[in-house]
């Protein structure tokens, strides 16, 4: 599965999948983000790190506007995906969320069969204007499960409930569920923190494999994971973006004093 070129390449360059400019965000009176600027390279894995409460999850949840559901969230600034402003009131949220898949900290497969979990997106969005036929559905399920390395384990148990699988399988299923509607960006909010070490390794491997086909923005608490499983790294502190560089140089040679302190584990 490969991603089509953006239909409207932005002036800022086709290589930026996400371009955040001067983003401020308030939860009621509390300001959670301060003038955040961020440029996420298309096709790369970018990790957001920083201590709890630094705004990394808030930033992630602003990208697909899932924050707004809370009702008391106010934002200024802009978030552009492939050159298009997603904060614009004319944006259709259903389309935005089709293009931007989200993976949660706790695997949340739906209480449906494995097959129906994978097909859920196509049934919601009806890409061909109608639900997939049996043959198409079979192909979609196989393709998505193969892509997340679950096909061989689950091909004989597609009728099992997604909620009965192991946590590792559940999380992979949650990723597979996003793929049939062909998103271009995957947001992951600590996708491995509910998994055991073996599960973490397997899911990290999967994320690494998806690199290139999808732009991936991943929030993690786990420094080792950011180091292993991302190409670029963004360090945030108290709602501000402190440093953004490629992962190797951030960990070897952080430019900022606070980044260095955090990476070395002096706080966090």
């Amino acid at each position: 599965m490969s991603v089509a070129e953006p239909s409207t390449p932005s002036a800022a360059g086709a290589s930026a999948a996400i371009l955040v400019e001067k983003l401020n965000l308030w939860y009621g009176d509390f300001q959670a983000l301060f003038d955040v600027d961020l440029r996420v390279r298309a096709g790369a894995i970018t990790s957001l790190i920083g201590p709890s409460g630094c705004g990394k999850t808030t930033l992630l949840r602003s990208v697909n506007r899932i924050n707004e559901r809370l009702g008391y969230v106010r934002t200024t600034g802009s978030i552009r995906l492939w050159g298009l402003d997603v904060l614009d009131p004319s944006v259709e949220l259903a389309q935005l969320r089709k293009q931007v898949g989200m993976v949660f900290q706790r695997p949340n497969p739906l209480p449906l069969s494995v097959r129906d979990n994978v097909l859920f997106g196509t049934r919601v969005h009806l890409p061909g204007g109608k639900p997939p036929t049996r043959a198409e559905a079979g192909r979609i399920v196989e393709e998505a499960l193969r892509e997340v390395l679950l096909w061989d384990e689950l091909k004989d148990s597609l009728d099992r409930r997604g909620t009965e699988l192991s946590l590792e399988q559940q999380q992979k299923l949650c990723i597979a569920r996003l793929l049939p509607v062909k998103p271009r960006l995957l947001l992951m909010d600590e996708p491995c923190s509910a998994l055991d070490p073996a599960g973490t390794e397997a899911v990290e491997e999967l994320i690494w494999k998806l690199r290139g086909d999808y732009t991936i923005l991943i929030v993690t608490h786990n420094m080792a994971q950011a180091r292993r499983a991302s190409e670029e790294c963004v360090f945030m502190l108290l709602g501000e973006m402190i440093e953004h560089s490629d992962t190797a140089s951030m960990f070897l040679n952080p430019a900022n004093e606070q980044t260095a302190a955090y990476i070395e584990g002096r706080y966090g």
């Binding site: 559901r69 389309q95 949660f104 739906l110 049934r123 919601v124 909620t163 009965e164």
Partner: protein, 289 residues
């Protein structure tokens, strides 16, 4: 090192005392239920026969059976359900899945709680004013059932809403994050996983409705009417009112008859509750997450 101190022994004594107290209270709770059932079975049991269940009352209700009342109660309950379940479930869906947490929503919730607290005789008078007179349904099954429906609406709403809220928020979030609308989320995930609770609420409503007397006595239930109702605009006899009438208003009713009516009524209610419990256990067994 491990011997009991005086304090330990005192604690243990107090502990035993409270255990006994709570056990005693629980027994006190079960006792009336057991007594009611026992008395009804012993004294009403002899009245029960095919003839009693399937023939109309005769001799000024001092003999014969209860068929018109039995059929009438079924009519009243079914029409009340048809009226209240769609409205109640829709209202609960709105309150649980759509309504923002604001002053209006809180006011609606308060109204529902207050509606549940309105005495049934007040509902009866409302039913007379609204359905019998204003809507010109006359004293009929329709007017009586609508009165029952209004009275039980809060029960349906509260049971449905509680059942909807047992579906974890994570499932809804998963749906919304995939671009599903609220309605798609409700149809595909929320309703299929809460239907057992909703049905339980409905069945409880049935058992509740079938025993009500006050709301129907001015709106559609007849004192004595030895025919079966033919449609919703007919009057009808009902089990609860029939029991009241033959216990207090009619002289020379053989003693076993009111007990027989009560036994049939309570059996209907218990059977409904039993079905509701069995259903819930069955559906809960299938549900895994």
């Amino acid at each position: 090192m491990f011997e009991a101190t005086a304090q330990n022994r005192r604690n243990r004594k107090v502990e035993g005392l409270f255990r006994l107290l709570f056990l005693w209270m629980t027994c006190m709770l079960i006792l009336p239920v057991a007594l009611i059932l026992g008395v009804l079975i012993v004294r009403g049991g002899p009245a029960i026969s095919w003839e009693f269940l399937f023939s109309p009352p005769t001799n000024g209700m001092t003999a014969g059976g209860i068929l018109p009342a039995l059929v009438g109660t079924v009519w009243l309950v079914v029409v009340a359900l048809i009226a209240s379940v769609p409205v109640g479930v829709a209202a609960a869906l709105y309150l649980s899945e759509y309504a923002p947490d604001n002053r209006l929503t809180r006011a609606i919730n308060l109204a529902i709680i207050n509606l549940a607290g309105v005495p049934s005789i007040v509902h009866a008078l409302f039913g007379v004013g609204a359905f019998v007179i204003f809507f010109r349904f006359g004293t009929s099954i329709l007017a009586a059932s609508l009165t029952l429906a209004v009275m039980t609406l809060p029960v349906v709403i509260v049971a449905t809403r509680e059942s909807l809220q047992t579906v974890p928020l994570a499932f809804r979030e998963a749906c919304w994050n995939m671009g599903a609308t609220r309605w798609q989320t409700i149809r595909k995930i929320v309703l299929p996983n809460s239907i057992s609770g909703i049905l339980t609420g409905v069945i409880l409503e049935v058992s509740r409705t079938s025993g009500e007397t006050a709301p129907i006595m001015f709106t559609g239930a007849a004192f004595f009417l030895p025919f079966l109702p033919q449609g919703v605009l007919d009057q009808t006899m009902a089990m609860s009112l029939h029991l009241f009438v033959i216990s207090t208003q009619v002289p020379d009713v053989p003693e076993h008859m009111p007990f027989g009516v009560a036994l049939v009524l309570i059996s209907m209610v218990l059977a409904m509750n039993g079905i509701s419990i069995a259903f819930r256990v069955y559906l809960r067994g299938r549900k895994k997450w």
